[in-house]
């Protein structure tokens, strides 16, 4: 009989379903094949014109019917597809999930295509006044719902029959990890036996790209798109904006075993720490990221020597990769040089609100498949960052525990510790 409670006497949280969509494809099978083959999903942007843009590449998801229909509809579809895969794998009723929903998704705004179309449907007044005039004559709720922050989760709650008020959250680029953390906490508190945690982001619009570009956050290596995302390399010059989704069905180990579910992995610990240094830059000593990693290890009841692999945040920005190296080498000490640490973002780009969930999904698969996906485009190592980044080629390895990092604008730092086996 397995131990059902963790080192702090809380219910152990198991993963019984995993779903994922990225620019590499729909579903775990396609994604895993591409990821372990070192395939990049980064490509020239075709969704909108790239005139005047410094960055003309992305990891957008272009192959869904909603890919051209705006951030809100695409984000919903991404979330729905990943959640459907996860719920089906868990063997649960996909219309009556019976637990709460935690959705990490991008902040919503009225899409420009809608703004243009509303504005040009009338001739009276100008600017915002005209938009408001047109708005109050609108029939139907379709446009309205794309501007409500709770609407995507509301639709998902209808679709999957989740319980109660669904939570939509944003912790910037750590959002996906936070959605999982909220699910873990709800199960540990005994509020539910299972939770559906989703991170989804279909918000790679022209305006989103321009905003990140104005902050000098994006790679401008446009010529060979698949080579642009190069975490931990000397010539890294920014992240690649991308889309995707990841979904996990979380369940108390007790409930999962009781219904005979297959245990895909264990969500062993979560840790977070906010940074008060700057809106986009981390404290130079890395102390908040260090504290987040340590909090996750502590929550998991694991020592520094008990992590087999790190799924890095690894954005390919000069700042992040340097800070992540600093914080990991501080926590893991000399061992850091011999620990495998790879960045999925080298292949899928930065899926923003989805990243933490997508990368948790890949972390769990890394343990199940005993294969570590590589960090591709590692041709010019940064001499200041001495890490085993699993360069360019996948590696076969027994992996029993993973640390997955997520760091975001606004001082957000969230880390997850996952394990293959319950104890």
């Amino acid at each position: 009989m397995a131990n059902l409670n963790d080192h702090m006497g809380r219910p152990i949280v198991a993963v019984t379903g995993i779903g994922v969509v990225t620019s590499l494809g729909v579903g775990k099978a396609d994604n895993w094949a591409a990821l372990t083959a070192g395939t990049s999903g980064i490509h020239p942007i075709t969704r909108f014109p790239v005139d005047h843009l410094n960055t003309r590449i992305s990891g957008t998801v272009d192959f869904l019917p909603s890919s051209s229909k705006g951030a809100s509809l695409l984000t919903y579809d991404l979330a729905e597809i990943a959640a459907q895969e996860a719920v089906a794998e868990a063997g649960l009723d996909s219309g009556d999930f019976g637990g709460p929903l935690f959705l990490a998704s991008p902040p919503v705004e009225l899409d420009w295509s809608e703004r243009f179309s509303l504005y040009n449907s009338d001739k009276h007044d100008v600017g915002a006044e005209r938009l408001l005039r047109v708005a109050r004559g609108l029939k139907g709720l379709d446009v309205f719902e794309t501007t409500q922050f709770g609407s995507i989760a509301d639709r998902l709650a209808d679709r999957f029959g989740t319980r109660g008020l669904p939570i939509t959250l944003s912790t910037a680029c750590a959002s996906g990890a936070t959605s999982i953390q909220l699910g873990v906490e709800a199960i540990r508190r005994g509020e539910c036996d299972r939770a559906l945690s989703i991170g989804a982001d279909g918000s790679a619009t022209a305006e989103a790209l321009i905003r990140f570009s104005l902050l000098s956050a994006l790679s401008t290596h446009n010529d060979i798109p698949e080579k642009a995302s190069k975490p931990f390399s000397r010539d890294r010059d920014g992240f690649v904006l991308a889309e995707g989704s990841g979904a996990l069905v979380l369940e108390s180990l007790e409930a999962a075993l009781a219904r005979g579910a297959t245990i895909l992995g264990i969500l062993r610990g979560c840790g977070e720490k906010a940074d008060d240094f700057h809106r986009t830059r981390s404290k130079p000593d890395g102390s908040p990221a260090i504290a987040a990693v340590r909090a996750a290890l502590g929550d998991a009841g694991l020592g520094e020597d008990e992590i087999d692999y790190v799924n890095a945040h690894g954005t390919s920005t000069p700042e992040n990769d340097k800070m992540e190296h600093l914080s990991l080498s501080t926590v893991f000490g000399e061992r850091i040089g011999s620990m495998p640490i790879s960045s999925n973002k080298s292949m899928i780009g930065h899926t923003l609100s989805a990243a933490g969930a997508v990368e948790a999904a890949f972390s769990l698969m890394t343990m199940r498949e005993s294969v570590i996906p590589p960090t591709i485009n590692y041709d010019n190592p940064d001499p200041a960052i001495v890490l085993d980044v699993v360069p360019n080629q996948k590696r076969n390895a027994e992996v029993g525990t993973v640390l997955s990092n997520s760091f975001g604008f606004g001082g957000q730092n969230t880390c997850l510790v996952m394990a293959r086996e319950p104890v």
Binding site: F48, W112, R115, L131, L132, L138, L182
Partner: protein, 395 residues
């Protein structure tokens, strides 16, 4: 009473009525208080505008103020007031271990840039190119951060040094409900000892009005109290700028610091009625029943928005219980979206602490309450979706 009870040990409030719990109390207990209204600027819509605020009082650095649009400044300001009130501000040990859940919407876009692009779109067919052309040259680079949802929390970390954890919930009133509910659950379970929770809403921006008006939710024409807008022009919502932050604390933690306790936060309940299927009435009734209302007269601080369907449903549920004396504070503050539920809880806590009820905010509709409120109900029935309630008890 138990040591893991959740108590309210700090309150920060801003609305058109002023700032701070004391100022709000003084005004709100004044029978027949007139609302502060701005009817011209956004005509045909009326809003309750922000009062004069000296941002320096809570955001010392001008550089920090410049990095935020009004919504973030407002939230950071209200959060600072709550921290001050709880005796936490400036205390490194307490701030660095303090958790935070912020209910946020989005910030303010650059209205001039948007208007310019829209005007140009009338004579251009290549609108996507137009967009690139204008946005790459006219957007202020840091505006993105000044309007980004999780950067209200980010600014609270930077300005007030709250760094235990930082989470932002999105989704109109429901985000405020979930923020308070989750924060309380974390304290009750021993996951946290003290949490900053709240939100802010700055309505004096066309996009914030548009967010309601795309479904015709805004009231038009002369202002009326929140319960008296059915059947009039528009959708019934009159918005207001404001913010509400609470310091929630484990009882033992607050007592050990020797702090004043406003009230205990009792059950917080939430729900998601599928309204198009007519579930709202039943959902409100279910929440009232889950909240385990005490016997006897019950003062109720209602966050009703004025939105016709939701407000009618809430009113009929409250009217059906003869013990309930409701106070719809949107009459005096306007609807503050994500901040609405934290604001309701704060007003409930104030009444409990001052051992007195608010007079009717709308004497024609609301009935008197004569006793001492030992327990007060706070509600937020979303104008469009999501519902929540909390019971606030004498400490």
């Amino acid at each position: 009473m138990s040591r893991h009870d959740v108590v309210i040990s700090g309150i920060g409030l801003v609305s058109s009525l002023g700032e701070g719990p004391d100022a709000h109390w003084r005004k709100l207990v004044h029978p027949g208080l007139e609302p502060v209204l701005e009817a011209a600027r956004f005509s045909p819509y009326t809003v309750h505008p922000l009062p004069e605020i000296d941002w320096n009082l809570q955001i010392a650095k001008r550089g920090d103020q410049r990095q935020m649009e009004t919504w973030q400044r407002l939230g950071t300001y209200a959060a600072g007031m709550a921290l001050d009130d709880a005796g936490i501000k400036g205390n490194d040990d307490l701030c660095t271990t303090m958790d935070m859940v912020v209910a946020a919407g989005g910030g303010e876009r650059d209205e001039a840039v948007d208007a310019d692009i829209l005007a140009a779109s009338e004579s251009r067919n290549d609108r996507d190119v137009l967009l690139n052309e204008k946005l790459t040259t006219e957007l202020r680079p840091t505006l993105f951060l000044a309007q980004l949802s999780n950067l209200l929390a980010g600014n609270i970390s930077i300005v007030h040094k709250v760094t235990g954890s930082s989470r932002t919930f999105m989704g109109e009133e429901g985000a405020g409900v979930a923020a308070v509910e989750t924060a309380a659950a974390r304290i009750r379970s021993g996951q946290s000892t003290h949490i900053l929770v709240g939100g802010a809403f700055q309505t004096e921006h066309s996009d914030m009005l548009l967010g309601y008006e795309l479904a015709g939710y805004l009231h038009r024409g002369p202002w009326r109290p929140v319960w008296q807008r059915q059947g009039l022009d528009g959708g019934g919502v009159v918005t207001g700028s404001g913010g509400a932050f609470l310091v929630l604390e484990q009882r033992e933690h607050a007592i050990s610091r020797g702090r004043k306790i406003y009230a205990e936060l009792g059950p917080v309940v939430s729900g998601r009625a599928i309204r198009r299927q007519g579930e709202l009435d039943a959902e409100i009734a279910a929440l009232l029943s889950q909240a385990a209302l005490p016997n006897g007269e019950l003062l109720t601080i209602s966050g009703a928005s004025g939105a016709h369907a939701a407000t009618a449903a809430e009113k009929s549920a409250l009217d059906a219980n003869p013990a309930i004396a409701a106070r719809g504070f949107s009459t005096l503050t306007g609807h503050m979206k994500e901040a609405q539920f934290p604001f309701a809880v704060a007003l409930a806590a104030l009444a409990v602490e001052r051992k007195a009820a608010y007079p009717a905010f709308d004497a024609a509709t609301e009935k008197p309450f004569n006793g001492i409120p030992r327990t007060v109900l706070a509600t937020a029935i979303g104008y469009h979706q999501f519902e929540g309630m909390a019971l606030v008890n004498a400490a």
